[in-house]
């Protein structure tokens, strides 16, 4: 197991190098730092001095890969590539384009993100799986038919519409909870109820349908027929046999998402004013703060790869047939 995990982590390194090179190419080769400076300072009326000043304040005034004017190892380290890209590997995200420390911001903002994303994830799983089991229990009846129709209809509605409609109905017409905002600590719950509920509802269609198809695939297996032949009740068959075995494909999709919960949700956080990493990214996009975007891309891929490793480990826990070596 340990050998397997360390091999997986070693395997992650070339992928992270790839991600790193990709973002570096996107932001420093496709566009030169001069282009970025002009974009920030307003494309037309900008002097070369202004561009140089902007670059030196943010450390973009160095050569890309090789600095001839420095000595020994500094030839390589005093470059944009080393400072802006290589340092990401030790999670040194540097400063954003408006001068704040990105690492510090991330450490602070991941908790509100988690406060939103974790309940959506846990409650969502429970709701989706129960709904899917309900449909499977009433298989080939009108409940199943209309349930699937409901799923397809809900899938066809854009996520934005759920948010706008939810905010409008609950926040503005019914006046039950505040439309947006956030408070640290336990009082945050009243700001989180609405986004969490909307988050769960907006995923109901596609997730329930997906889980339903997994359950239906299991329900045709031999062991289910055996269980029924033994005279077990349908509820017992569903919960004790089908659900347990269907957990394996469900885990594939679910566990990989757990580390990414720290990243929150771009849409929800910015609509509801939750000061998490999602709204951090949106703000960065709107102010064209490329340093933050680069950091978030790298962080996102680290968390995704972590999720993959976790998925493999969780397999060994739920499926005794799987051994990692």
């Amino acid at each position: 197991m340990f050998a397997y995990i360390s091999r997986r982590i070693l395997y992650a390194i070339p992928i992270l190098i790839g991600v790193n090179l990709l973002t570096f190419a996107l932001y420093f080769l496709v566009n030169s730092p001069d282009d970025m400076a002009r974009m920030h300072l307003g494309a037309k009326y900008v002097t070369q001095q202004g561009v140089d000043k902007w670059k030196s304040e943010r450390g973009y005034d160095k050569p890309l890969f090789y600095n001839d004017s420095q000595n020994s190892y500094k030839k390589l380290t005093d470059t944009i590539f080393y400072n802006k890209s290589v340092k990401l590997f030790v999670l040194d995200f540097g400063n954003s384009d408006n001068g704040r420390n990105i690492g510090g911001d991330i450490g602070q903002r991941m908790w509100p993100s988690l406060a939103y994303a974790l309940p959506v994830f846990v409650l969502g799983m429970i709701v989706y799986i129960s709904f899917a089991l309900l449909l499977v229990f009433f298989k080939a009846t009108y409940v199943d038919l209309w349930g699937v129709v409901l799923c397809v209809v809900m899938m066809s509605i854009s996520g934005i519409i759920y948010i706008i409609a939810g905010q409008y109905l609950v926040g503005k017409v019914l006046l039950l909870v505040p439309i947006s905002g956030y408070e640290p600590g336990l009082t945050a719950y009243k700001f989180l109820i609405l986004p969490v509920v909307i988050g769960i509802i907006s995923g109901l269609g596609s997730s329930s349908r997906w889980y339903r198809s997994i359950f239906l695939e299991e329900i045709n297996r031999d062991y289910v027929r055996t269980a029924r032949a033994k005279g077990l009740s349908e509820i017992r068959v569903l919960f004790a046999h089908v659900l347990k075995n269907a957990m394996i494909p469900i885990l594939t999709g679910a566990v990989v998402a757990i580390p990414l919960l720290f990243m929150g949700s771009l849409l929800m956080e910015s609509f509801f004013g939750i000061p998490g990493l999602g709204s951090y990214t949106i703000d960065a996009i709107r102010s064209q703060d490329f340093a933050i975007v680069r950091a978030m891309v790298f962080l996102g891929s680290i968390l995704y790869i972590l999720g993959l490793v976790l998925t493999d480990i969780s397999y060994t826990l739920v499926d005794p047939r799987v051994r990692l070596n």
């Binding site: 992270l16 932001y27 854009s158 706008i164």
Partner: protein, 504 residues
């Protein structure tokens, strides 16, 4: 191999297909003569034209292969699938009309020897909807309203200033007095309804005549079969769907000549017109994204599965790397970079429309990257299995080259996976456009799209009284398209996915 291809292409069937393609192309190249105008080919227009040609070739190919056209027959028998296909057809017609652009000859300068063309680029849709789009108001107005949303200052005959809702310039101008308003709205709707009924009756009549010609039975027998759904296709439900759409839209189109049926937006543009214009953007994002990504996904996926070894490792590395970046962040990162690039190289593009068009294409490309990896992985797995099958082994031991095995034995046998992924992706891509518009990396703000409409409409909900019409119009059209696409793709998946056969 070239010989084989030549032999196939000189068959009468393929010559017919070729003639259709040539006719289509010459129509596309020659239509400006009809309008006395100059054709403009945007990059996305050309790609849509290419896509249509590909579709024609694909359909012709499928029709010739019984084992490939078999599953399609199941799709065609499915009532829900066919009625959604009809809905999709109406959307596609509007989208295609909006993809034919030209500039009209400028008549005001007719004394010059050479013809000048207006700077305004129009599409076929713009020309047909001219009677709606030219009726701009000052600001918001509710659907079917004859008064503006905002009060204005007036001075009456005695010089006293007062504030009131002004009459709209282009809505209900034919009304003699404001008391006729309600009866006029109703009578205009009924007239529209009547026109719709006439058109759909004509459509049903033509279909009946055609059905009778292909089958030697009486009209009564055909109508009975139609209602009982005993024909080869569910014609009954298809005609019903078309009739509903035709009646509904003729109401809207007819009443549009007198009122703003879906109101006007902040700058007074007719919302119905904007919603129709958005159809093209949605379709472009849903289809061109796939068109751009398909060659890469198929080539790399098949190569990885077929050659294994180093090739497989390299391709796997590429898609794992791209896949490990969360999709939305990848789109954001690439689009921001492209924004800067376009901003700094604006000299490349002649007009703002061209610039927006290239950005739309770039967005399709980026969305393509995010959906490409999944297809690539599926194909790799399937080819892994296929290459060990006897018929491939036999071909290999007979000395058939790898290229030929891939093209004639492997690719046709993985096409069902490609098809399923393509149709399943479509609706997701249309929905993604709205999200991207909100985030701020979507299509250019100069392009009319549902995403841009919803994004600007969300702030209007805070007004008092609420401005709900742009949101509802954009939402309902988008919903109709995505729902139809979802239902249609479900039928395709059920018909093609062997795993789904036992389940249902």
């Amino acid at each position: 191999m070239a010989n084989d291809l030549l032999k196939v292409l000189t068959q009468p069937y393929w010559i017919k297909v070729f003639v259709i393609l040539v006719a289509l192309s010459s129509l596309y190249a020659g239509y400006p003569l009809i309008f006395d105008s100059k054709a403009e080919y945007l990059t996305t227009d050309l790609l849509i034209y290419f896509l249509v040609c590909c579709l024609i070739v694909f359909i012709s190919y499928i029709r010739q292969q019984p084992h490939l056209s078999g599953p399609w027959k199941n799709v065609f028998k499915n009532k829900i699938a066919m009625s959604s296909a009809v809905v999709l057809c109406f959307f596609i017609i509007v989208g295609l009309m909006d993809s034919v652009h030209f500039r009209k000859a400028d008549i005001s300068n007719s004394n010059l020897t050479e013809t000048h063309y207006s700077t305004n680029m129009l599409s076929l849709l713009d020309v047909s909807l001219d009677y709606i789009s030219r009726n701009s108001e000052k600001t918001y107005s509710a659907p079917f309203a004859i008064f503006s949303y905002a009060k204005e200052n007036f001075t009456n005959d005695e010089g006293v200033k007062y504030r009131a809702y002004p009459r709209l310039k282009h809505a209900g101008v034919h009304l003699a007095s404001e008391d006729d308003y309600l009866s006029d709205v109703i009578s205009k709707s009924i007239s529209g309804l009547g026109i719709g009924v006439v058109i759909s009756m004509a459509l049903i009549g033509i279909t009946l005549v055609l059905l009778k010609r292909s089958r030697a039975s009486s009209y009564l027998a055909i109508i009975a079969a139609l209602i009982k759904n005993k024909l080869d296709l569910p014609w009954g439900i298809m005609l019903l769907t078309s009739a509903i759409i035709i009646i509904f839209s003729s109401c809207l189109f007819y009443a549009s000549a007198f009122y703003h049926v879906m109101g006007t937006d902040k700058v007074g543009q007719d919302v119905f017109y904007l919603t129709l214009k958005s159809i093209r953007t949605g379709l472009v994002i849903g289809t061109l994204t796939t068109l751009i990504m398909l060659p890469f996904a198929i080539a790399l996926g098949v190569m990885a599965g077929y050659y294994k070894g180093l090739v497989d490792d390299v391709i796997q590395y590429i898609y794992t790397t791209l896949n490990s970046i969360p999709g939305i962040l990848l789109i954001v990162a690439v689009m921001l970079s492209i924004d800067v690039y376009i901003e700094n190289h604006s000299a490349f593009f002649e007009t703002a429309i061209e610039r927006a068009d290239i950005k739309l294409l770039a967005l399709c490309g980026v969305l393509g990257i995010t959906s490409w990896t999944g297809l690539c992985r599926l194909l790799r797995g399937e080819v892994f299995k296929l290459r060990e099958l006897e018929y491939i082994q036999a071909a290999r031991s007979l000395g058939v080259s790898d290229t030929k095995i891939i093209i004639s034995h492997i690719v046709p046998n993985v096409m069902h996976i490609v098809l399923i992924v393509v149709v399943l992706d479509f609706s997701g891509l249309v929905l993604a456009e709205a999200v991207l518009a909100y985030i701020g990396v979507g299509v250019d703000s100069s392009i009319i799209s549902w995403g841009n409409m919803i994004n600007s409409a969300r702030l209007e909900l805070a007004r008092e009284p609420v401005v709900w019409w742009s949101l509802i119009s954009a939402f309902s059209f988008m919903f109709a398209l995505v729902l139809a696409a979802n239902l249609f793709s479900d039928a395709i998946r059920d018909a093609f996915d062997p795993r789904m056969q036992g389940i249902k």
